[in-house]
Symmetry: C2
Subunit: 330 residues, 2 copies
């Protein structure tokens, strides 16, 4: 090749590259054009544009996402409870006393309603019994194996296929614009971390969640961390703002939730100086997903809906704003 040819080749490469960029210009293909989508793009453009009065340095572009009901489905119950229920069945032979002890007795008879009659206390008992007594590594392995095959009771789809395609695009779009994306979930931190990196592109150190106490122990000269049946932190409501402070130590500039449990995270985010973005995912699509809000036992969105209206936060209607709900090919 002579010099002119080298130059020509280089120029062709540059044009090809530019074409590739403009071809990939729609980072949110599953979002309908409308107010919700526009509000997202407007915010991202103004905080990333150098010289803009709303410009935010990359290190401060922290975005936090609730998980259940915001990144993946949460009906008819939080998926982690499906794990806990399956785990009760696996552990039952080691616990003959469960046959006569609620909530385990009902659960083992397949009577979910009876098991849940004990309310939150019963649920916590089930979670305690199924999420402790293991090392962190044993627990991770069990969750990894479980989630690889677990199916949704109604749709029969793999649970990790019931993530929201428009939210996956939003996560990628934010990261492509220099944001650091975090999960801030009421779910168990060690449960969600197992799949967050593969499914959402969010590494374990960017997952904040509820946790149990841990104990450092030497076993055959090797250190292990044992999961104790004692709650360490509940990452819900007030706990979401507190968890953000303890783990991130920097206030998010954007926060995404779907329920009243996320309200304090959105309030905390909104109260900082400069441009801020708060978004609620509103479950309005009974045909393609589920429709619920103010009266729901799971993912209740009542106060949050009022505050979003009062403060001008973005409220995404899954029915109207999203072209698709789940990724293709499930």
């Amino acid at each position: 090749m002579n010099n002119q040819n080298i130059l020509a080749t280089a120029l062709v490469s540059v044009f090809a590259f530019t074409a590739a960029i403009s071809h990939a210009a729609d980072p949110l293909p599953s979002w309908n054009n409308g107010k919700s989508r526009l509000s997202i793009v407007d915010f991202v453009e103004k905080v990333t544009k150098p010289g803009s009065p709303d410009f935010v340095p990359a290190a401060e572009r922290i975005a936090t996402f609730d998980n259940d009901g915001t990144l993946w489905a949460e009906q008819p119950m939080y998926f982690q409870f499906l794990f806990a229920f399956d785990r009760v069945k696996v552990l039952a032979p080691q616990h003959p006393e469960w046959k006569d002890k609620e909530p385990f007795a009902s659960l083992l008879k397949g009577d979910l309603k009876g098991a849940l009659a004990g309310g939150e206390k019963a649920l916590m008992e089930i979670v305690g019994a199924t999420h402790s007594g293991l090392t962190t590594e044993e627990f991770e392995k069990i969750v990894r194996e479980w989630i690889a095959t677990a199916k949704h009771p109604a749709t029969k789809q793999p649970l990790t296929g019931m993530v929201y395609q428009p939210m996956l695009e939003l996560l990628s779009y934010l990261r492509a614009n220099g944001f650091k994306t975090f999960i801030v979930t009421g779910g168990g931190i060690e449960f969600v971390r197992v799949f967050a990196e593969q499914v959402y592109g969010i590494p374990p150190e960017q997952v904040i969640g509820s946790s149990g106490k841990l104990k450092f122990e030497m076993r055959d000269g090797k250190p292990v961390l044992v999961k104790l049946p004692a709650i360490d932190f509940i990452d819900d409501k007030d706990g979401k703002a507190i968890g953000i402070q303890q783990h991130i130590g920097r206030r998010p500039i954007a926060a995404f939730g779907n329920s009243d449990g996320d309200l304090q995270m959105l309030q905390w985010t909104a109260a900082g100086p400069g441009a801020r973005f708060c978004l609620y995912v509103h479950h309005t699509d009974a045909a393609r997903e589920f429709a619920y809000d103010r009266e729901s036992h799971i993912g209740k969105l009542d106060k949050g809906l009022d505050e979003a209206a009062a403060k001008g936060w973005t409220v995404v209607s899954m029915k109207n704003d999203w072209k698709t709900i789940y990724p293709a090919g499930n």
Copy 2:
């Protein structure tokens, strides 16, 4: 310019760039050539070389650093206590009862020995009284203002100038090789975060430390997080391994400490599969810094020194391995 000139200009740029790289080839200029330095470079090269049997993907290149005595000095006492003592003086007018109450009474008379006679309990009382009752934002502002002017009692140097230059180079070297660097400190998480980004290049979300409980509160319609006088977590000894699990959720492949308080972090790091690197900074330089180990009340290094010898961990002699201790120009 014609095409040939453009090409010539481009080639000159490429050569200049290559020369700049090879000129900057020593990433650890303050480290003497010797076993310690060699062990670091060997480890980094083998875990970053594609195709090497010890190769570790970038996402898993987690390196954790103790702060006091590992990244900056800790004698004659942890610098955070200097902050707490200064704070007692500032707050004294609001606490007339301190005149007759230990450890405050001794402290206010300038009798440090008397104040510390109460041991850890007295210290915790001082920390509790000076680190709570504020919002997280108020506390951050106070620490920021204090550290901008605080001087070391013996050297009269700014405290942030008493960081170790060789460790700053090590942090940069690891990051340039795709590592994510974390601080795992027994010190207060909200204290260290104030200067960690500017001084060490470590953002707040990569600082793990001891913490107090927080309370979410609305004040004039604005959410605040109030620091309560109750301990939430002590990030020392067993707590270092636990803190790493809770915050990072992934085992480090390299860990750096200087005392027995770091031993569990090093054990936890060493116990993972694949290539691992553990390093102790040994304070051996009475002339340029301080010399202490097995008998010291602060930064005691006793069991750790034995275990390092038994396991073949790197033990850095500050006297022999480091050309300089502090950054130039303090």
